[in-house]
Each structure stands twice: as C-alpha cells, then as structure tokens.
C-alpha cells in the first residue's frame, strides 16, 4: 500500500518490541464475536491510473463551467477564480495542517484568519468576525441562536426573500432549542413587507436576507429599526458576498450580526460545497459568538503573534455550555477568500461588483425590450433577478440548454405564485453575447 510505509519485516520488529506474538493479539480486546469475519464488500484497491480514470469518467457526466455558460446563482455564484488562489492554497503547509492549536508552528494559518477577520469586519461594518462557519445557511442559523442567547427570546422574524434552503436549515437548527420562525410577506416590488408588524417583545431577531432570494435589495435599515424598537437584534444574511463591496455596509445600517456565504470570494462552486459561511457581530456580543476567533498577542520575546482566543466560548472547553458545537470549520476556504480579497483589493472588488451590476442592468434592459419576457419585480437588484417567461419555465430553460446555457433556476418549487418564472444571475463569467443568447432562448426565439 502506497500510503502505508511499514513492511512486513518492520511489523515483526515492532510486534516483538511491543511484546505480542501477532497483529491479531493487539485486537484481542475486541470480543471475537464482534469482529468482522470477512473482508469489507468494497471495490478492490487500485492504483492511481485506474482510480483517476474512474473518477474522470464520473466527472465527465456533469455539466460544468467548462462545458456550459451559467446564469444560475440562487446562493451559489459562478465567478472567475484568480489563478494565484489555487497556487497558494495548494501549499501543503496550509492544507495539510490542523486547527492552529499550537500557535508557535501555526502562525501562517493564524495570521490568515486574523486578516480574514479584519476584512470581514470592514466589509460588514461590524467589529468582530469569526474564523468561518460551515456555510451561509448554518451561519444564519447560528446567528439566530446567538440572538436567542443574547435576548433570551424564542421568536425569529425572517424576511420574505430568505433563501428557501436557508429557511429549511434554520428550521432544522431551531427545532431543538424551541425557536419559532415567522416570515414577512413579499410585496409587489419583490421586497419584504410589514416586518415591523411581526416584531414583538418575544422576538429575538429579525433576519433579512440581502440581496433577497429573488435578487432584490431589501430595506435593511428599516428592518433594523423595527428590531431595535422591540429590543431584538437585527441580522442580515448575505448570500452573495460580492454585494458587500457595493451596498452600504449592513453594520452601518444598524445590523447587529451580519452573516452569510462568501463562496463568491474565490471558492469553487463544487456542487454546493465546501463553501464559506461567515459571521460578524458587534464587540459587545463577542462572548456569545459561535466559532473560533483569533487574537493578537506577543511572544515571550515581545514579538507580535496570533493565537486562538476567547475559547471559553467553545465546546472543547465549555462543553454543553458552549456557544456552538462547531469544531472543524471551513479554514481552507477562508484562506482562499482572504487571498481573493487581497488580490482584488478595495478597488478591484468594488469594480467587479459594479461589473456584475452592469451586466444585470444590461440583461434586464434586453428583457424589458423583449416581447414575451417580463420582470415581475421593480425593486433594484444587484446581479440576480426574476424573469417571467411566456410559456413555461422548464421549456424556456430547455431552450437555453440547447444553446449551451444553464439559464437559471426554475422558481416553481419555491414561489408558485410567480407563474412561469426563472431566477437569473449575471456574473462576470457571462458576456453580452451570452446574455443576448439567453434572452433569445427564454423568449423562444430559436438561434
């Protein structure tokens, strides 16, 4: 076995030193009747050429960015990934190391996390960000639980455009601790309506997804005000982190916790994971935050260094009193995102966000001008929006597919009331020609 160095000779030497006659005898504490008396029923082991060949065959059976043009977002965004990210994140000092429990030989990871925390604090407009959560959905659930701990209240009000999957995860997480979820209605312009009316003194938090599942930009400030008026926390969950480069920082609009998904920052779509949940909060709530935090300190010679800190919040110290059970998080994705943000920088990220906006505006203008297609919502959007088609969404998407385009998400399972509607996303990976082709296909104009 190529992954196991010891030879039979060496095993014999070791058994001798241990003082047992055979390998078997090391397992003698496992009662014989509990031991498996046959080999596992698995495919036989194989060399690299065979295994890779088999996996390549599986990989070829999926559409991907290399075979199709994607207008599909809905929480997972196709973006260009700068080449330096793979080069750096493939350094085995990063990817084959563990959680930085021993700071003297983990400063590479620790400094990266500290840089990430700083960047996310800046992007969200809050004080403290943690070292990642599993994904945007569980980050949102953890944010709700955090608000419940802070306020000792059970009720969670959510915006109309909370991603249905995030909503489901929230339900799953809140079931045990006894949380109650109430959702605002969607107004005619696509935004949430009447959040304020739902908030009461049982309410732990208001969660606004921004941009919403339907792509529209919500009135975060208003929601935050409603929450604060009743002593609840305002949580903003951001599905497309790139929007933070353009939209007013949620912290500046009153959000107490900002969480979401940062897959857009240099993390491959990878059929949905691993992605990168983030969570930021105000300093006063730091001791209720879930997840790891890295802090600055000095070494015995007075030199600056970084360590995991405030770990008394965490399960390995606090056990059943911990703020969360999270242990392994999404460290390597955090590294990728930190490199991404360093490469693009303040200007580049902003410029990219504006490009995404411009592409969406162009697409929307083409759609407006195309008979048979409609934009049901009037509220402004970032890089994603709903299109209503004349015939049926599956038929329209099938036409797009014929043109080599994954045209968006059929909204039927998520919002039947919208009629034949498709959620379309435009990132920098699509060109004007792609947009024209999509619009033609959705409209039924055969190209």
């Amino acid at each position: 076995m190529r992954y196991v160095p010891n030879t039979e000779d060496e095993v014999r030497t070791m058994l001798e030193r241990i003082g047992v006659p055979s390998l078997e005898s090391l397992f003698s504490r496992i009662p014989a009747r509990l031991r498996l008396d046959r080999p596992l029923a698995l495919p036989r082991g194989a060399g690299e050429q065979e295994v890779l060949g088999a996996l390549e065959a599986l990989a070829r059976r999926n559409a991907c960015l290399d075979t199709h043009r994607y207008f599909l977002g809905a929480g997972v965004y196709p973006h260009f990934i700068p080449t330096a990210i793979d080069a750096l994140a493939s350094r085995s000092e990063f990817y084959t190391s563990y959680t930085p429990y021993q700071p003297e030989i983990s400063q590479g990871t620790l400094q990266t996390i500290f840089e990430w925390q700083t960047m996310i604090a800046g992007l969200t407009g809050l004080d403290v960000a943690n070292a990642s959560m599993y994904d945007g959905a569980s980050a949102t659930a953890e944010a709700a639980l955090m608000a419940m701990r802070v306020t000792r209240r059970p009720k969670v009000v959510v915006s109309a455009g909370l991603h249905p999957h995030t909503r489901e995860v929230l339900e799953t997480y809140l079931d045990g601790p006894g949380g109650k979820i109430v959702a605002a209605a969607r107004g005619p312009d696509g935004r949430s309506e009447g959040v304020g009316a739902l908030v009461d003194d049982e309410t732990a938090c208001v969660i606004v997804q921004n941009p919403s599942f339907f792509g529209v930009i919500e009135d975060v400030g208003d929601a935050a005000k409603s929450a604060h008026a009743c002593g609840a926390l305002a949580i903003v969950t951001v599905p497309e982190a790139l929007s933070l480069a353009l939209l007013r920082a949620p912290g500046a609009l009153g959000a107490d916790i900002v969480c979401g998904e940062a897959q857009s920052f240099g993390v491959p779509m990878s059929f949905g994971g691993p992605h990168l949940g983030f969570l930021a909060a105000r300093e006063r709530h730091v001791r209720q935050m879930p997840g790891r935090l890295v802090g600055e300190t000095v070494d015995a010679r007075g030199k600056r260094g970084f360590v995991l800190t405030l770990s008394t919040r965490e399960q390995h110290i606090r056990r059943d009193r911990a703020t969360s059970n999270i242990c392994t998080n999404q460290g390597l994705m955090l590294l990728r995102a930190t490199i991404y943000l360093a490469l693009l920088g303040a200007r580049g990220l902003r410029e990219l966000a504006v490009q995404n906006l411009a592409l969406a505006e162009y697409a929307r203008s083409r759609i407006r001008a195309t008979p048979g297609l409609e934009l049901p919502f009037s509220a402004p959007v970032f890089n994603e929006f709903v299109v209503r088609v004349a015939d049926s969404a599956p038929a329209a998407l099938a036409r797009a597919l014929e043109a080599g385009i994954v045209g968006g998400l059929d909204l039927a399972p998520f919002a039947e009331d919208l009629g034949p509607a498709i959620l379309v996303c435009t990132t920098e990976l699509v060109s004007r020609a792609d947009i024209d082709a999509l619009v033609a296909a959705l409209a039924g104009d055969p190209r």
């Binding site: 390998l23 090391l26 596992l40 983990s106 599993y134 995860v169 353009l246 010679r301 911990a322 504006v354």
Partner: protein
C-alpha cells in the same frame, strides 16, 4: 516595525544549532496584508466590460451604496503571492512530518484525492443545475453512501453534514425525531466524561440536558455506570469507540442493551473509526446512529481547520428521519439514473444549504477506491501497531494513563516530570524544537497532564523511533536542564505566545495605527 534586531534577541541565543529532527534555519518575516498595502496597487485586473457601464448611485440610489470598501488592502499580485508563501512557511504540516495529534488522525492526504476533487466536472458544477446534468456527481454521492454503510455496518448514510460536529447534531436530531414521533419526550443525553466537547455541545444545542457518566478506573465505560444513569427520560447515550483513551469499549454490547432496554438509543462518535476499519463495525456492536469524520478516517485534508465532512449513518429505525434531500437510484421504470428525493415527511430537514462538502466526498471516494477492503484494514492494523510501539518505547518516561495495549492512540502523562517542574505543555513546546508537531495535550480532560499521541498508519518504524527518541531526549533534558524545556520553543521564529494576554484584552482585527 523596524528591521533592527530587538535588543533582547541578542542575549536569547543559548540554543544549540541542531536538535533531533530539525536544525535552526532562516525564517522570513512578514507583516499583515494591511501593513503592506499601498494605495493604487492592483493584484488583479478585470475583464473588459462589453455591456454599457452603469453608475451604481444612479441604479441603486446614493443611500443604498457605500462610499468605500473598508477593511481591504491594495497589493500587487507578486506581493500577495509572497505574503502567503512566506507565512505558509510558519506552519507545520503533515507533508512536513509526523503530526501525532491524538483524536485528530492526521494521516497522509494523498495527492490523487486533490487532483480528483479539482476535476472541472466536480469543482465547477452548480448544485442546482438540472439532475440530468449532474448524474456523475449524484452517482458519486450514492456510491460513497453505500461504501460508508458497508464500512460501518449501518443501514443508511447521509453525506450532508459539513463536519463531525454537524454529524452529531444531525444524529441527535434524528434521535429526537424518533422519540417524538413515538410521542416519547425525553430530556437527557448520557455522555461519558472522557468524551470530546462536541458531544455535550451537540446534545445541548438540541435542547437536551447532558449527564456525564464516569469512566471506570480502567478507562472504560462500565455497564454499571450506564445502568445507574439510564432512565426512561434518557434519549440516548453518546459514546466514542475506541474511546478517547485509545481503548476499545469492551462492554459495548452490554451497554447498548442497557440503553435499548430503557427505550434509549446509542450514538457512536466515529472519530476513532480508523482503528477498526475492516476489523469491527459500529453497526454490529449495537450503535444506532453515528458520524464519520472523512477528514480523519478517510484522509481528506484538515486545511488548517477545515473543511471536513461528517456523514451520518443510521440503522433502519432512524432512516425516515435522515436529512433531505436524499440521492436515490431510480428504477428502470423511472428511466434509471439518480434523482434527489425530498419526500421524507419525517426528515429532520435540511442541515446544509446544498449537499454538504462535496469536494471532500470526492476525496474520500478516491481514497476508498485506492485502498479497497485490504488497504483499509491494513490502515487500521498499522495505526494500532504504531500506537502500541510508541507506547512501548515511551511508557517508562511518560507513564500511560491506561494499562495494557491500546488501539490507534495512547494517552501518556507528565507524572514523572512533575518533580522537575516540567509539564506536558513544556514537553509539547520543546518537541517543536525537535521538528515535530506536539501531540494533543490536556485531553481527555479526565487525565491530568495528558499527552495524547496518535501516530496513524502513515508513519514508518524509523520515523516513530526518531519521534520516540525526541520525547525521551526531552525527558532526559527535563531532569538535567529543566529550564531549557520550560523555555521552549527556542528555535521558532516566535517564542511561546502569551495566550492569557490575548484573551484578557482581545484584539480581533487590525486597525491602522492611531485609529483607536
């Protein structure tokens, strides 16, 4: 920051030049990204826009947009590359040498797995693209579920949880759903005192009260202790087998019977599955639900703290409660192929925005396909031989917390060093000078001064000998020159870090000098 050597450095150089597996070398300094930033630098250039440019203020309204992006630096590509290359050299890693962190199973991460996970058809596929366009990935998920079921002796597996702790959460949720569906509201979960912190945290996060069950003096969980704590208000017992002392829970069958007899279920923490691959199966021992840590047993890299993957396996009785969606192989009548099934009314629901950490699943499948049944079993055997060999070599200087042979890891103590004022922490730090990552320390909590060593099957006999030599050398040094051990590490770029100070006045982000 100035480049001149700090004065105290001049005097701090009593270190020898070479020790054990390592020598002194050059380490590169590197400030924070923000400190390297200069306005106007660019590290990336965007494509040219081929649609009309827009003014965001006009499109979105002045009030909706921010005037500037805070928190981000400005750097050229070369500076970014150097920054991360330089700071990467400050990390220890499995690819550099043994990483004997008990409970973490820091085995070798095969390069093949990395290549496989980056195949465009996996890495660049969207989770919401039509099923017909995702048959390869759905087949992969389905196949891995089958394999994990076979390895564990469980009936069904869901790959959705993103890490072990989320797998625990899923498991406990299913246990709750099971009881509730039977109209049986229970409030407690039993957890041995040797358990990992995620166990009680997962139970508590689910609204359960946790009850700690004491391990016996032999480090094992005893039926009597479980029986004493067991009642009809107990939803489940969570246990880890082999346990965190590296011992196989010999009474497992009896314990499961006790729990089952009172209507409870048994949760198995699969973090230590590596020790019994192909030798025994949790499902055959009486476990009802368990998680796997693919980033431990199945070689997916730990990534400096993740991502992992924590699939959860269940017996038939819990299958109706598995998270949705579930990948199902369609009958020929349905056209064959794989589909996503959401129709599980008694499911605990969704745990992840999508299907979990799919990139990790690809790696785990590559690993299982590479090893096959014989290879997996060989891993377990070698992990166990290696642990016992280290134990044999070290037991005298570092008295073990347990008696007799162990499974894949051993827990040693600093008992014999006490007299010299040297602790487990000091030994750990001194091992760094020898060129090793320290073992897990002070865990499990029930062992004072624990040094928990898990070599894994990736180490060779001579590699173990060098590691043992280093630890024995430190024990000798603790007697002869204890202050040298207490002052360790000496060779690293940074000396011992002040963790107390970090927690006392937390500095959790960089701020420009004078900004506060």
């Amino acid at each position: 920051m100035t480049d001149a050597p700090a004065p105290q450095d001049r005097d701090s150089t009593t270190a020898v030049h070479r020790v054990g597996n390592a020598a002194r070398g050059v380490s590169y300094e590197e400030p924070l990204l923000f400190e390297r930033s200069r306005p106007g630098r660019v590290g990336f250039e965007l494509r040219e826009l081929d649609v009309p440019a827009v003014d965001p203020a006009e499109v979105l309204g002045e009030a909706a947009i921010r005037s500037e992006v805070a928190g981000l630096p400005e750097l050229s590509e070369v500076e970014v590359v150097r920054h991360f290359t330089r700071i990467s050299t400050w990390n220890y890693a499995v690819d550099l040498g043994p990483y004997p962190l008990g409970s973490c199973t820091m085995k070798y991460n095969p390069k093949l797995n990395e290549v496989a996970s980056r195949l465009p058809g996996f890495a660049n596929a969207h989770p919401l693209q039509p099923e017909a366009l995702s048959q390869g990935l759905l087949a992969l998920i389905h196949e891995l579920e089958q394999h994990l079921a076979e390895v564990s002796g469980m009936d069904r597996v869901s790959l959705q949880p993103a890490a072990g702790a989320q797998g625990e959460l899923a498991g406990i949720m299913m246990i709750r759903a099971y009881h509730e569906q039977r109209g049986d509201r229970r409030s407690k979960v039993l957890i041995p005192d040797s358990a990992h912190g995620t166990n009680p945290a997962s139970a508590a996060l689910n609204g359960y009260d946790t009850v700690s069950v004491p391990s016996g003096p032999d480090g094992l969980l005893h039926p009597s202790a479980v029986a004493a704590a067991m009642s009809e208000d107990v939803a489940a017992l969570m246990l880890t087998n082999p346990n965190t002392l590296g011992l196989f829970e010999e009474h497992i069958v009896e314990i499961c019977e006790i729990v089952h007899a009172k209507g409870g279920l048994v949760y198995g923490d699969g973090a230590n599955l590596n020790a019994i691959l192909g030798i025994a199966r949790p499902g055959d021992l009486g476990i009802d639900v368990m998680h796997f840590n693919l980033h431990k047993t199945f070689s997916t890299p730990h990534g400096g703290g993740g991502p992992g993957a924590g699939p959860v396996g269940v017996k038939h009785l819990l299958a109706p409660h598995l998270p949705v969606p579930v990948v199902r192989r369609q009958d020929e009548s349905e056209g064959g192929g794989f589909t996503l099934d959401y129709e599980f009314p008694r499911s605990i629901g969704r745990l992840h925005g999508n299907f979990g950490n799919v990139g990790m699943l690809v790696r785990a499948l590559a690993y299982i396909r590479s090893l096959g049944p014989a290879g997996l079993r060989r891993c377990a055997e070698m992990a166990v031989v290696n642990a016992n060999y280290l134990l044999a070599r070290l037991a005298e200087e570092y008295p073990p917390a347990t008696r007799g042979h162990v499974m894949h890891e051993c827990v040693l103590t600093d008992r014999r060093l006490e007299a010299h004022g040297v602790t487990t922490l000091d030994v750990a730090k001194r091992l760094i000078d020898h060129g090793y990552h320290p073992p897990t320390i002070y865990f499990p909590l029930i062992v004072p001064g624990a040094l928990m060593i898990e070599p894994t099957e990736s180490e060779s006999l001579e590699g173990l000998d060098r590691l043992a030599d280093a630890l024995l050398d430190i024990a000798r040094e603790a007697r002869e020159e204890p202050e040298r051990v207490r002052g360790a590490p000496h060779h690293t770029r940074l000396a011992r870090l002040d963790e107390t100070r970090a927690a006392r006045r937390p500095i959790l982000r960089w701020q420009p000098a004078g900004s506060e």
